[in-house]
Assembly symmetry: C3
Homo-oligomer: 213 residues x 3
């Protein structure tokens, strides 16, 4: 687990790596699906999947000075991203029937990446406000890069409670961390809360406001 | 002032931080205005404002190895960027009447960011040519990222004497630094010169040449 | 040659720097040509040329923790990129007659950048899978950034055996490195192979597959 979650990180351990790789896989699937829709070739699908899954974490690691970033230091991360993307490339017609499942997994990935990103920043000594931003960027950075690569204005900047759920979750994690609640349980609760807020917003069709013209 | 301007930086001190935050605010306003025009939501406006204000500095800090970058290490920077963006979100109809003021402030930000970016690179041991490039990238990086996020070809790459003023200013700062003129006065003069060249180019409608077809 | 190729790098030496700068020049020419076609101004042409030539290497150096990146630490790199871009700006009508030559040089740059990028990552202690990815990103990163700056979906993600040749070459270099074949000869062979595969794919109009609709 070289380079993965260092030292006294409260969430280290086998179960977290599995969770982290699930997040990588679902974000890779979202990137690969967008790339297939743009009719990119097999390499392009793998590349956009890689960036969507690992771009946020690479940015996080560069910002906190943890080089080489995990995406390059631990082979399981890129291999998971690329294999998932290739699977999407071959299976995408069937995948459209799994749209709800992918959406649910993507939302779980959002919660997980926010929590681990915020914790890693706090462990690296980033002050609270910065750690919240790093946590949020870890969760949304991959999706941003995916949209830039496929020529879209990032969907996360448009009308969805997505990044806002991540930012709220990052603030919660920072408060819990400051109060000493850093065991696995509070962190799982935070991840579940982020996921729940995002799902509830989807269900109720909540949007962030846009400016009056 | 943790992480802000280190050690023997000739421009450190309260007045510079205030000036730096003014630069952050005006660049955030430019990013937020572009985001409002693209009908992004409140989060998107805050995010594009954050990136426009702090993207150049984040790139600078990554390149000179100063991690975490100031945007994450000093809470006053992101808070200034986000509050300004939110204000633009609510006030943007009135803002159009302030177009000249915003343009003037943006140009002042250009001068200031070029000077501080170049000095930080020189202080970090970057050689002269690289320091000029880092100084220019600090000043134009945020605007570049703003345009990429909102789906535009960066305006700075098109017909304006903007980046050229920054590059000229960075070269001037590097020469002054090499000659030992590193007190506040020469640096203020450099910032004013960059701002003046840019304003004069705007006034005279100077453009950089484009290639003959 | 400060910061260039460190320590026991098997390819260090005068001939490699010359080769590296040839790669910088051809990638700068490709970026500058794209910028001229988009009617960017002289500064924009220089900037896109700089990013196309040096963007991949900057990303590589940030990822392996070699700061400041070579593009800022060694003046010969940015000067080569910018002078080439300016030359393209003035000479571009004649350049269209050199299309085959530029294509050939670009392909040689692909081979060279893959080999040096992979070796630098391995020398910096990046594990094998990560080093292959870093090597490929070094070779294709500049072209990606060029296309993003000029508002295109990156051509490397579409139907061409380009990145795939780089990835295959990076894997070959990593295997040779692991087997102890790190002298100049095996590396030159790898670079020639990458270039040859790319040229053969162009000649035979090979493409990577795209997904069935």
């Amino acid at each position: 687990m070289q380079g993965d979650l260092r030292g006294d990180d409260p969430l280290s351990g086998y179960s977290l790596v599995v969770g982290d790789l699930v997040g990588v896989a679902v974000f890779a699937a979202s990137g690969a699906s967008a790339a297939v829709a743009k009719r990119l070739d097999l390499f392009g699908v793998g590349f956009v999947g890689f960036v969507a899954a690992l771009g946020g974490g690479i940015l996080r690691d560069l910002v906190i000075g943890s080089v080489p970033p995990l995406a390059f230091a631990d082979w399981r991360y890129p291999v998971t991203a690329v294999l998932t993307s290739v699977a999407v490339f071959w299976l995408h017609p069937q995948l459209s029937r799994l749209r709800r499942t992918v959406l649910l997994l993507d939302t779980a990935g959002l919660g997980l990446f926010t929590v681990t990103g915020t914790l890693k920043a706090l462990n690296a000594g980033v002050p609270p406000v910065g750690a919240c931003l790093v946590g949020m960027l870890t969760a949304i950075g991959g999706g941003l890069a995916r949209d830039l690569l496929t020529g879209e204005i990032p969907v996360v900047l448009q009308r969805e409670i997505y990044a806002v759920a991540a930012l709220g979750g990052a603030i919660l994690v920072t408060i819990l961390y400051g109060a000493g609640f850093v065991g696995p349980l509070p962190m799982v609760v935070a991840a579940v809360l982020i996921t729940g807020v995002r799902l509830f917003a989807l269900y109720r069709r909540w949007h962030a406001p846009i400016a009056v013209p």
